[in-house]
Amino acid sequence: MLADRLNEDKFDRTLSQALQRHSEPVPAGFTAMVLRQVREVQEQRILARVVLQERLALAACIALAGLAIVVAAVFPEIAAAAFRGVTAGLTGQGEDLIDRIPLAVKALSGQWRLYSVLGAALGFAVYSLVELLVGDKATIA
C-alpha cells in the first residue's frame, strides 16, 4: 500500500516536473503586435466617442427644432406665452412680433398643405434621429 502510494506520488512529481520544464514557443514580435492592436482600439474608442457626441448634438438640434414647430403649430397660445415670458424681462420690443405668431397660425389654420409640409418635415426629423442614433452608416468598426 505504502509502496503504491509512494509510486503514485513519484508519478505525480515526475509529471509535474516534466510539464513545468516545458516552455511554449511564442511567435517573434507578438507583444509589439498586440500593443499595436491595443493602440488601434484606443484610437477607435476616442473616435467613436467624438462621433457619438456629434450625433447627440445634431439629434438635439433636430429634436428641439421639431419640438418648437410642433408646439407652435398645436399650442400657439402656450408658445406665445412662453416666448413672451422669456422675452418680457429682456425687452418689450419683440412683443409685437411674438403676438403675430399665434395670429398667423390662426390665420393659417385649415391650410392642410402647410400641415402636410410640417408633417413631412417632422417625419424627416424623426427619420434623421433614428438614422443618427442607430443607423450603421457612421459606425466605427
Partner: protein, 193 residues
Amino acid sequence: MAKELWQQEADWLSLLRSGDHNAFARFIDKYKELVFLCCRRLGLREDEAEDVASETFLAAYKALRRYRGQAELSTWLWSIAYRQAVNHLRKNRRQRQLEVEPDEEIASNREQAPAAALQAEEQQEIVWQAVDRLPRLWAMAVILHYREEKSIADIAKIMAARENTVKTYLFRGRERLKQMLGRAFGEATDVSR
C-alpha cells in the same frame, strides 16, 4: 523584501488597470506563453492560435479595469484564453474536437522510448507527447493541475465546468497518462503495475 515585492506587484496592477502601455507590455510578456499553451492544447492551428491569443489579450485589456483581484491574475487570464479558444472552435463548428482524442496520425511517431534511464529533456518530450494524445479537455485539466498548480476550484472556474467534472477529467487523464508513460517511466516509478 516580501512586502516590497507585494508593493511592486500592487503598483504594477494599478498601472495595468489605468491602461499604461508599458505595464501592459510586461503583462503580455509574462503571460503570453500561458495563452499560447492554452490555445494550442485546445487544438487550434498555428495561425488560429496567434489570432485567438491576441484576441485574448485585447479582451483582457478591455476587462482589466473591472479586475478586482477576486482570482489570481493568471487564473483570470486562463479563463479568458480558454473562453476565447472554445468560442473560436464553436464558431468554426469544431467544439466536438474537445471531447475526442486527437488523431492517431499526430501521435503515430511518438511511441515511448525504452525504459532506460531517461534524460530530463527526453522525459519532458515524452510527457508532452503523451499529454497531446489525451482528449483536449483532459489534457487541459492535467496541465492546469500539474503544470500551473491550480486548485480544482480554480480549474472549474477556468473551464466553466463543475468541480466533479474537473475531477473526472483529471482522474481519467492521469490514468491514461500512467498507461502511456508506464513503459517510459517504468523503472523510475513502477506505475505500470
